[in-house]
């Protein structure tokens, strides 16, 4: 773990310059996706589901949608067989994960709202990334940093990674730290935690699902939903690819 220092121009800074102080069209797109997601969540998922279907139909058409459904079924079956401990409807691995078509690689998000659970913790609040053109692609030696939108919710941060391309599904725990919990106070907007994760050889090459959450009380290194579901204030999952 080491403190994160930006070493190059971030995508946000470049976009800020290009748009002369305004946000860019790309940022508007991302905000739109989050707005529709949050409004849909408050309305039991209807808005987002219809929206997503409409976009799919416009962009890819029915054949691609059919392929994606087959792929999703395969994906869920593979994951369930690889992780027999997960229980449907109880953890975010348990059949409640779905493929999200937003531009970022926030590719797997908990979709409890789509299942009618309006009390599922909100997503889109936590993120991870490295200082690369594509922040969700990290190279060995890079530092993975965690950002939290504390304007929306505050609490204790937890994070772990699970390899998606490896037979071993062993979790790599990032937060809480070995000796202490990490608290993010509210009201500061989007903040980057002062703890980064060195992409060391403990990470094999391939894709990882990084699960992040904010909880009311510190949660030890246990599954955030299965163990203390009611304390979880926000929950996100981001796909990060580690390359040599």
């Amino acid at each position: 773990m080491k403190r994160h220092h930006p070493r190059t121009w971030s995508d946000g800074e470049i976009q800020h310059l290009l748009s002369n102080g305004y946000l860019s069209g790309q940022q508007y797109d991302e905000i739109e996706a989050r707005v529709l997601q949050r409004v849909a969540r408050a309305e039991g998922g209807r808005l987002r589901e219809v929206h997503s279907l409409g976009r799919w139909a416009r962009v890819a058409g029915a054949p691609l949608a059919a392929c994606s459904i087959v792929g999703l079924i395969w994906f869920l079956q593979t994951r369930e067989s690889a992780n027999p401990a997960s229980v449907r409807g109880q953890t975010i691995e348990a059949g409640t994960a779905g493929v999200h078509t937003a531009p970022s690689r926030r590719a797997v998000v908990p979709k409890g709202d789509a299942a009618g659970d309006v009390h599922a913790p909100p997503s889109g609040i936590l993120d991870v990334g490295c200082s690369n053109d594509d922040p969700h692609v990290c190279h060995f030696g890079d530092t993975l940093y965690v950002s939290v939108n504390s304007a929306i919710v505050a609490g204790y941060v937890g994070a772990y990674a699970e390899p998606l391309d490896s037979h071993t599904k062993e979790r790599i725990w990032y937060l809480p730290l070995d000796d202490r919990a990490v608290n993010v106070p509210g009201g500061a907007g989007t903040v980057v935690l002062p703890y980064g994760v060195r992409i060391s050889p403990v990470h094999a090459r391939g894709r990882y699902r990084v699960t992040l959450w904010l909880s009311r009380e510190p949660i030890q290194r246990r599954d955030p939903v299965a163990s203390r579901g009611k304390d979880v204030l926000a929950l996100d999952a981001v796909i990060v690819e580690v390359r040599p």
């Binding site: 976009q15 310059l17 002369n20 860019s24 408050a42 309305e43 209807r46």
Partner: protein, 219 residues
């Protein structure tokens, strides 16, 4: 429609008058209608938040993130109760501005910051064009101007659609007659080119962190 007209169109023609029937679909939560309203107003609300940030930054500086605030404005505005309660005979732009102002004040209070009503009120008199005045100057401005001036036509088109007009992917693709993939590729070229120009110009990252602090909000 020129850039200024694009940014201030709600003054002349509120969206719900321009598109009869939209209000019903919007109230029902029809996703296309909600998306249409968002796209119509997002730039305008962003410009207003710009003026609020600038009014405040003159004396204080803040760590608030404008993108987060913009998101919050539309989440509040698009909640079911707010959609149903809106009176379509009123213009929607000022309604969004009022929500933006409340979000801004709430965020400042959450930061335990003193809210200076005069600062906020004075920003109401600043038009959107003033908000778009260059926020960078000196070396950065020179590098940016030189870089943008030398852009080839395809990248210039993408720059205009996505960064000057702030259009969404779909709208920019339609205007330019290109695919999403081409748009994304050109955007990456655009950003990569500016990165190179900035590095070649000897500007460090820290210069921008200071300048853009109020809007980026990152620590």
């Amino acid at each position: 429609m020129d850039e200024r007209a694009e940014r201030t169109k709600d003054v002349e023609m509120p969206i719900f008058r321009e598109h009869p029937g939209l209000i019903e679909r919007f109230r029902e939560g029809n996703p296309q209608a909600v998306e249409q309203v968002y796209r119509y107003y997002v730039r305008q609300v962003d410009a207003y938040l710009c003026t609020l940030f600038r009014a405040l930054d003159d004396r204080h500086g803040t760590r608030l993130n404008r993108a987060d605030l913009l998101q919050e404005v539309f989440v509040r505005s698009f909640q079911s109760a707010a959609r149903v309660a809106f009176d379509p005979s009123r213009p929607y732009g000022p309604y969004l501005r009022a929500i933006a102002r409340n979000c801004f004040i709430d965020a400042l209070r959450a930061e335990r910051r003193e809210v200076l009503r005069a600062d906020i009120d004075s920003s109401d008199n600043v038009d959107d064009q003033a908000a778009a005045e260059p926020f960078v100057d000196g070396t950065l401005r020179a590098i940016l101007t030189s870089y943008l001036g030398g852009l080839p036509a395809p990248l210039r088109g993408v720059y205009h659609q996505r960064y000057v007009l702030g259009r969404t992917q779909d709208a920019a693709c339609a205007a330019l007659g290109i695919s999403r993939r081409t748009l994304r590729t050109n955007e990456e070229h655009l950003k990569r080119g500016l990165r190179k120009a900035l590095i070649a110009g000897g500007v460090t990252t820290n210069d921008v962190v200071m300048l853009a602090n109020s809007s980026l909000g990152a620590e």
